[in-house]
Amino acid sequence: MTQHSSEDLLLIEGFKQANTKESSFTLIVKKYQERVYWQIHRLVINHDDANDVMQNVFIKAWNGLENFRADAQLFTWLYRIAVNESLSFIEQQKRRSSIALDGTDLNLEDKLQSEKDFDPNKAVWKLQQAIQQLPEKQRVVFNLRYFDEMGYEEMSEVLDTSVGALKASYHYAVKKIEDFILHH
């Protein structure tokens, strides 16, 4: 069983009390919103989409926190919701837009290029372009490891995948990114 921080435990308990429910939830959102937001943003690319998804994530958290059990960390639990909601959102977008025959999602690539200050010659944007070429699962694993610096054990809880499989996914993801950067 994972250890909760004492602050998280207080917030969860406060949420379960009627008189401190809203204030506790507000503190939870304030504490984790930025990390959750960036995780979502890196997956859905667009700010407006990220905003929508984040709202849905915290609505789900509001509805589910009452029955939240201490078998996962609060942040891990929020991340899990965020990843699932982001991937669901991307799936919905795919259904609405055309999909390239090679399986890559042109819509995300288009969104990336329409970002403000986008410059394909800059390394940071090239890295983002490379990430968008990755399969969905590898993209999530790379983001969690590279940007959020998440450990494999914690990632295993978020993605419900074995540590070995996650290490392999990360390795393949890095190699594909390297290949993209060197050849583009």
């Binding site: 809203e22 939830f25 507000t26 959102v29 304030k30 919103q33 930025e34 937001y37 960036w38 943003h41 890196r42 690319i45 700010h47 407006d48 905003n51 929508d52 984040m54 709202q55 915290f58 609505i59 509001w62 970002e115 403000k116 200050d117 986008f118 800059k122 390394a123 940071v124 944007w125 890295l127 983002q128 490891r145 590279y146 940007f147 959020d148 610096e149 998440m150 450990g151 494999y152 914690e154 990360y170 390795h171 890095v174 190699k175 990114i177 390297e178 950067i181 060197l182």
Partner: protein
């Protein structure tokens, strides 16, 4: 979280090119986004709750959902937190809301004025879709009686035929067996048998004569004879006497 150094070392081992990339975030968010996003989230949650409650109260209105708009007033985020908390506080359960609007309706909500016949749900037969109830084949009694009568007649004829045939065969068997037995009998056996039969007949005669002889014999007195012979001419009587050689006794009369 893993330490930054561990992750960097791992990345160096896999791909030095990627490890050397600047780890800068190229994306930007609107100014004060994270300061106001909490209010937005809480507002959104409360809005959703209110919508769900309205859906329960009036399902027709739930068809027209409010679509999220990204256009917001200038000072929306500055004042939003207070507005949001006010909305959260104003959020009520269905019962609470109903108690304010019409308290009398709360108690009536669970009272069902309608009734069904006693045992209705126990005896209700649910017709399975796609399966027709199969009706039993109906036989008409008139038609059945005709068949029954015909069967009786045929049966009776058959029975009589079998009976007659059985009798004939029995007689044939009997006669054939008698002939066979007769052939097997010797002449002496037959003589003995006939003598026995003759003695039986005589025994019967004796018994018979020993019985009520008076009743069997006609009382032939003179008067009766006269009456019997009255219609016969004398010539005829004379011829009969001569033919039979009967001798008549002379009477004094």
């Amino acid at each position: 979280m893993s330490s930054d150094q561990t992750i960097l070392s791992e990345l160096q081992a896999i791909s030095p090119a990627v490890a050397n990339l600047p780890k800068t975030n190229p994306f930007i968010v609107p100014l004060n986004y994270f300061e106001t996003s909490v209010s937005n989230i809480i507002n959104h949650i409360k809005e959703k709750q209110l919508n769900e409650e309205n859906d329960l109260l009036n399902p027709i209105l739930s068809i027209e959902k409010n679509k999220p708009s990204f256009e917001i007033p200038t000072d929306y985020f500055e004042t939003f937190e207070n507005k949001l908390m006010n909305k959260i506080r104003s959020a009520q359960s269905v019962d609470d809301e109903l108690s304010e609007i019409a308290p009398g309706l709360i108690s009536l909500r669970n009272d069902n004025p309608f009734t069904v016949p006693k045992g209705y749900f126990d005896s209700t037969v649910i017709a399975m879709p796609g399966k027709k109830n199969r009706l039993a084949k109906v036989f008409q009694m008139k038609k059945m009686l005709r068949y029954a009568a015909a069967a009786c007649i045929i049966g009776l004829i058959g029975f009589l035929y079998v009976l007659i045939k059985a009798d004939n065969s029995a007689l044939l068997v009997a006669s054939s067996s008698n002939n066979q037995q007769a052939e097997e009998l010797s002449l002496n056996d037959m003589v003995v048998y006939l003598e026995q039969m003759d003695s039986i007949d005589h025994d019967n005669d004796i018994e018979f004569s020993n019985g009520d002889e008076v009743n069997l014999l006609v009382d032939l007195n003179k008067e009766t004879i006269k009456e019997l012979l009255n219609g016969i001419p004398d010539k005829g009587i004379q011829e009969f006497i001569e033919n039979e050689g009967i001798t008549l006794e002379k009477t004094s009369n």
